[in-house]
């Protein structure tokens, strides 16, 4: 299968392209409904590029051009350039520490001029995906030993760590989606189970009083001893292993209460996380207690749960059929902060109700399953790993974003793919998806 003159459209998966434009269109309508007011002139504001929805149109056009450009490239180009791009991306992220621009509290942006800004951490998702694909598809990589596992993990966690340093916790979280990709490529399930266990332990530590928590851990330890009784009789070391684990888990409570909430997370983050479980944040660090007292005394204390409250009100008030396009009172009244970016889902859910939001979820699910199907039909490991990366990145974005708006996750700044307003976001997902489509055109080639 050799192609001489690259022609757009030939061999491109039309279902995905359709899905892509459907979602982008939904996004535009949603942004429009957030911003448009009864007495605005639609055409005028569209042409003047003063409103966000008009800018979004520009972003969509640019993205489409970039998509065409991507489709016109040679699929080998990406395998060749993957490592270079990755290095460049990391370099850009490091650069933000020097010339970064401060936008809403995180120094993760580079000013491009003309009012446009670039967020390297967004782009790095593509590069990380390419780099991981490249690494796993190398002839010499046998993804079955600890060393290769660690290299893979290091590849994806490096940008994540840089993101955390840039105070973009949300973006960092997305890089964990690569674990799912690596799992598909042979990473033992124990990594995922361990990760899941830590999450469960974390939630338990938040929910339970210390005494119940310790009882819970001890009970779990005893249960394990009974379960592994025969093994323990053969190998007594396991007994000490379990004891050690119980002690470690007991200590975890302290870590959660005194280090994670009091040192690692900012007070407002702690509050958001705890409020999800119906708890209020009571700092134990004397410095933070003093600060809290000061805030309380000055009345400066903000309600950090305001976002999610308003978001739930907007979504919940949508009901079964929604209030109708441009008729959402919460949207029109500007009650939900950051509604055109991170909380764009609320606008859809309020205007179109349960049917609309379920349909949107359905669209995303269809998109993901379609990408998975595409991934599995690749002959080349590179293409497959890359396609899985795309699916998992989108999945994590959708999952975290929507869960955040419906109160299942703490509020983390993360966009809804293809719907949220923003050039960086839409461009990143366009490039992600269209590189995959480009690779898919040559699915029968084995790329290295």
């Amino acid at each position: 299968m050799k192609q001489d003159t690259p022609t757009i459209g030939k061999g491109v998966d039309t279902t995905l392209v359709l899905l892509y434009y459907l979602l982008v269109l939904v996004g535009f309508t949603a942004i429009f409904s957030v911003e448009f007011r009864q007495d605005d002139s639609f055409i005028q504001s569209l042409l003047q590029l003063k409103k966000n929805y008009s800018k979004q149109v520009l972003f969509i056009i640019i993205s489409s051009l970039v998509a065409v450009f991507v489709l016109l490239t040679d699929s080998k180009f990406f395998t060749t350039i993957a490592n270079l791009l990755y290095t460049g991306g990391i370099f850009l992220m490091l650069l933000t520490f020097v010339i970064g621009k401060d936008i809403s509290g995180s120094r993760s942006w580079i000013a491009l001029g003309g009012g446009f800004n670039l967020q390297p951490a967004e782009l790095c998702k593509i590069f990380a995906a390419l780099a991981l694909a490249k690494y796993l598809s190398r002839q010499e990589t046998e993804f079955n030993n600890l060393r290769s596992h660690l290299i893979g993990i290091a590849l994806v966690l490096a940008p994540a760590l840089l993101s955390v340093a840039q105070k973009e916790t949300g973006l960092a979280l997305v890089y964990f989606s690569f674990f799912v990709v690596m799992y598909r490529e042979g990473l033992p399930a124990i990594y995922l189970i361990l990760g899941f266990s830590v999450v469960v332990l974390f939630v338990t530590a938040i929910l339970l009083q210390p005494i119940w928590y310790y009882l819970f851990i001890c009970a779990a330890g005893l249960f394990m001893m009974l379960f592994f009784w025969k093994t323990i009789r053969r190998n007594f070391l396991l007994f000490f292993g379990i004891i050690l684990m119980v002690l470690l888990c007991s200590g975890f409570k302290y870590v959660v209460d005194h280090i994670i909430f009091d040192k690692v997370l900012k007070p407002y983050q702690s509050e958001r996380v705890l409020s999800m479980f119906g708890k209020s944040y009571v700092p134990k660090d004397p410095e933070r207690i003093a600060q809290l007292e000061k805030e309380k005394a000055s009345g400066k204390r903000k309600d950090y749960t305001y976002n999610v409250k308003q978001s739930k009100i907007a979504i919940g008030s949508g009901g079964l059929l929604g209030k109708g396009f441009l008729k959402g009172v919460t949207t029109q009244g500007d009650f939900v902060p950051a509604q055109h970016t991170d909380f764009i889902f609320t606008s859809v859910a309020e205007s179109f109700g349960f049917w609309g939001s379920a349909l949107l979820l359905g669209l995303y699910l269809f998109l993901l399953l379609r990408i998975l199907a595409l991934a599995e039909r690749q002959r080349s490991t590179f293409s497959r790993v890359y396609a899985y990366s795309v699916a998992c990145i989108i999945f994590f974005h959708v999952f975290i974003n929507i869960c955040m708006t419906i109160g299942l996750m703490p509020v983390i700044g993360i966009t809804l793919p293809l719907l949220s307003y923003g050039g960086s976001s839409i461009l990143t997902f366009t490039v992600l998806i269209f590189i995959m489509l480009r690779l898919d055109i040559d699915r029968n080639m084995i790329l290295r």
């Binding site: 979504i315 919940g316 009901g319 008729k327 009172v329 029109q332 009650f335 309020e350 599995e376």
Partner: protein, 700 residues
């Protein structure tokens, strides 16, 4: 290579589908099974605004508007937009100092937040409005004017008839079954109250979208759920506003009342009470202050004496006594009584005339107002041989009184009418024990004294009944309602002729002839009107206050013309002496004004001027006024000291106001201070009492 991992595709697919399912279930529980969010969203985003329609206008019998609506303006301020406003000019126009300006802004912020407009000065006076309107561009957008319709009384009379509107109180809220809401205005007295349902119209409701800063951003659903306000309907009344004006001027400096009714219709032409007040004082900003002043006045200017003043009718009752006796067949028109200055059989009452023959027949007895004659006639009625029992006789007499409209509420279309009182056997059995009284003991009832009490309205109505020879309509003000339909049942009872007795016309004729003679050559010759036959009866009513005999009340009832009665009048001037001295000329002037449209001769005009100038205030009221005034002087001096003290504190608050931390004034650095801290700082400086004191002025 990784072919053996194929099964993991299924795992990943299942994880993704599982997560989506969790999200879907959560969405279901939020959107389908939790109803509170819809309510929360509407509560915070939709403002339900009640639109008040213009109240109906009240017209007099000649179509002149006597209770109208005018538009006044409130100056509103939005504190967050104050930057760049020329405060100095504004203060100069409003005639306030900058300290006051800042105090008002603090007040506005505390009350309504920075972003919402609040009243800066309520009900601007016309000259302030004109000046402000010229210069408003300097103060926009922080300041703007808001229309506020208020009630106006162009003739400045009829305060007691027309009533006033005021904010509803908690009792009224409850009684209306929460139809009204806190802050609503409703008719509180007079026709405003009685015809509230007609005058108020239908309140409209507007649903307004507001944003997170509480600013209105437009109509909800393009006003689909809004209901339009329907303007109140107008009322056409029988009032002749010029007669009313004259009546009020005549009675103004006295204590008493004038009631004039059109006998054929029962329509009330005028009802004046003295002392009175300008109803315009109870509209707008000065309401509370003025109301308190009126409320505490010992002369009780808020009392509508025409309906609520109760007095023994005195001699004006005599025509009724005569009618009872004539109907019972106890006397004939030619029946006479020999009076020698005192009613012999009981030793009292005394009589003004002693000469023989002043009560030789019914006509003369009325003309000369013979006490003995009517004491006897009353005794005849009580001791009527038909009933063989004084108790039955008295009850029968009371029945007659009731038929004449005495002793019970007539049902006039004004609230708080008094019933008056006609004693019955129970009352006397209580005072004298059963059997301890006889017709002699209670003979003073025959001359309208003793325990009986009537209102001027009831007497005027009784005159209507005599003038009509046996029937009357319940006295009422309102002739018709604009666009009246069958649903408007409120006027029905006023359109039913009431014929409670069937006394023959000849009896009426005899009494009317007597009443005519009262004016031609009886006790009230000064009530004569050129070219009109007036029938009247004077009354000089003995009365007591705290068991101390006071100067007599001057009473007068009349109707005219004799053949075709057009007006019936009752005039009472408290503690003014003989009925003929004050009440009679007043009634005569009123009748002339109504019948001839103006006072005919210069002589009559001079007479009117003379009466207007005379001030007759009872000694007891003057005494109470003196006590109150001396108390006020003490209070005033205390108040002055307190004011000086507050003035000093206010200077402190000015300095606080200068603090750039608190204000966003143009010449000062912008630095916001969070609300709670601001409030706590301010309340530390300004005493709470002071803030509260400012509140009512702006609210009205």
């Amino acid at each position: 290579m990784a072919v053996f991992n194929q099964s993991r595709r299924t795992t990943i697919t299942l994880i993704i589908i599982g997560v989506f399912l969790i999200m879907l279930i959560r969405l279901m529980s939020l959107q389908l099974f939790t109803s509170k969010y819809g309510k929360l969203a509407n509560d915070q985003a939709i403002l339900r605004k009640v639109v008040y329609p213009g109240r109906g206008i009240i017209f007099d019998r000649k179509g002149r508007a006597i209770l109208d609506n005018i538009t006044m303006y409130d100056l509103m301020v939005t504190p967050s937009q104050l930057k760049g406003v020329d405060t100095v000019t504004l203060c100069r126009i409003l005639n306030i100092d900058t300290a006051e300006f800042k105090a008002r802004i603090v007040n506005a912020i505390i009350r309504n937040s920075r972003n919402r407009p609040s009243v800066f000065e309520a009900l601007l006076s016309p000259d302030k409005y004109a000046k402000l309107n010229e210069n408003l561009f300097r103060f926009q957008p922080a300041f703007f004017m808001q229309e506020r319709p208020i009630r106006s009384y162009p003739y400045k009379v009829g305060a007691h008839i027309l009533g006033y509107v005021g904010e509803v109180d908690s009792g009224m809220l409850r009684r209306s079954n929460y139809f009204y809401q806190m802050g609503d205005f409703a008719g509180r007295s007079g026709l405003e109250s009685y015809y509230e349902k007609v005058l108020m119209g239908q309140r409209g409701i507007q649903y307004i979208l507001r944003d997170k800063l509480n600013r209105p951003i437009g109509a909800y659903e393009n006003g689909e759920f809004d209901t339009a306000a329907v303007a109140g309907r107008h009322l056409n009344t029988y009032i002749d506003i010029e007669v009313q004006q004259l009546a009020e001027e005549l009675i103004k400096n006295k204590v008493g009342s004038v009631v004039a009714i059109e006998p054929q219709t029962g329509g009330i032409i005028a009802m004046a009470t003295g002392p009175t007040y300008d109803p315009n004082d109870l509209t707008g900003a000065g309401f509370k202050q003025k109301f308190n002043q009126l409320y505490t006045d010992p002369a009780l200017p808020l009392l509508n004496r025409g309906l609520q003043g109760v007095y023994p009718p005195g001699s004006t009752f005599k025509p009724l006594g005569a009618l009872v006796a004539l109907d019972e067949g106890l006397i004939t028109p030619s029946w006479g009584y020999a009076c020698y200055g005192r009613y012999g059989p009981c030793g009292k009452p005394a009589c003004t005339h002693a000469g023989g023959g002043h009560a030789a027949n019914l006509k003369l007895s009325i003309a000369n107002s013979c006490n003995s004659y009517y004491a006897h006639v009353f005794r005849l009625a009580v001791d009527n041989p038909t009933y063989h029992d004084k108790e039955k006789g008295l009850l029968k007499w009371k029945e007659y009184m009731s038929a004449f409209g005495l002793g019970h509420k007539l049902g006039v279309d004004l609230p708080s009418e008094k019933a008056g009182y006609i004693p019955d056997t129970g009352r006397y059995n209580k005072i004298f024990r059963k059997g301890g009284w006889n017709s002699c003991t209670i003979a003073s009832l025959g001359i309208g004294q003793g325990e009986m009490q009537v209102t001027p309205m009831q007497m005027a109505n009784a005159m209507c009944m005599i003038a009509n020879r046996g029937w009357y309509y319940i006295p009422h003000f309102v002739k018709s309602i604009e666009d009246e339909t069958e649903k408007d049942t409120i006027l029905n009872k006023f359109r039913q002729k009431i014929t409670p007795l069937h006394i023959p016309d000849s009896s009426y004729q005899a009494v009317i002839d007597g009443m005519e003679m009262v004016v031609t050559n009886g006790t009230a010759r000064n009530a004569r009107i050129d070219g009109i036959t007036v029938c009247a009866k004077t009354g000089t009513v003995e009365n007591y206050f705290k068991n101390k005999k006071q100067q007599n009340h001057s009473f007068f009832v009349a109707f005219a013309p004799k053949e075709n009665p057009k007006i019936a009048v009752c005039v009472v001037v408290e503690n003014a002496g003989y009925g003929a001295t004050w009440a009679a000329p007043i009634a005569s002037l009123i009748m002339e004004k109504f019948l001839k449209d103006s006072l005919s001769s210069p002589k009559r005009k001079a007479e009117a001027e003379r009466i207007k100038k005379v001030t007759i205030i009872p000694a007891r009221i003057l005494y109470e006024k003196r006590i109150k005034d001396s108390l006020r002087r003490v209070k005033d001096s205390i108040q002055r000291v307190r004011l000086e003290h507050e003035q000093k504190k206010r200077i402190d608050s000015t300095q606080l106001g200068m603090n750039p931390v608190l204000w966003n004034f143009p010449h000062e650095k912008k630095q916001a201070l969070p609300m709670p801290l601001l409030v706590s700082k301010l309340t530390a400086v300004i005493p709470e009492r002071w803030i509260l004191k400012k509140t009512p002025a702006n609210k009205i």
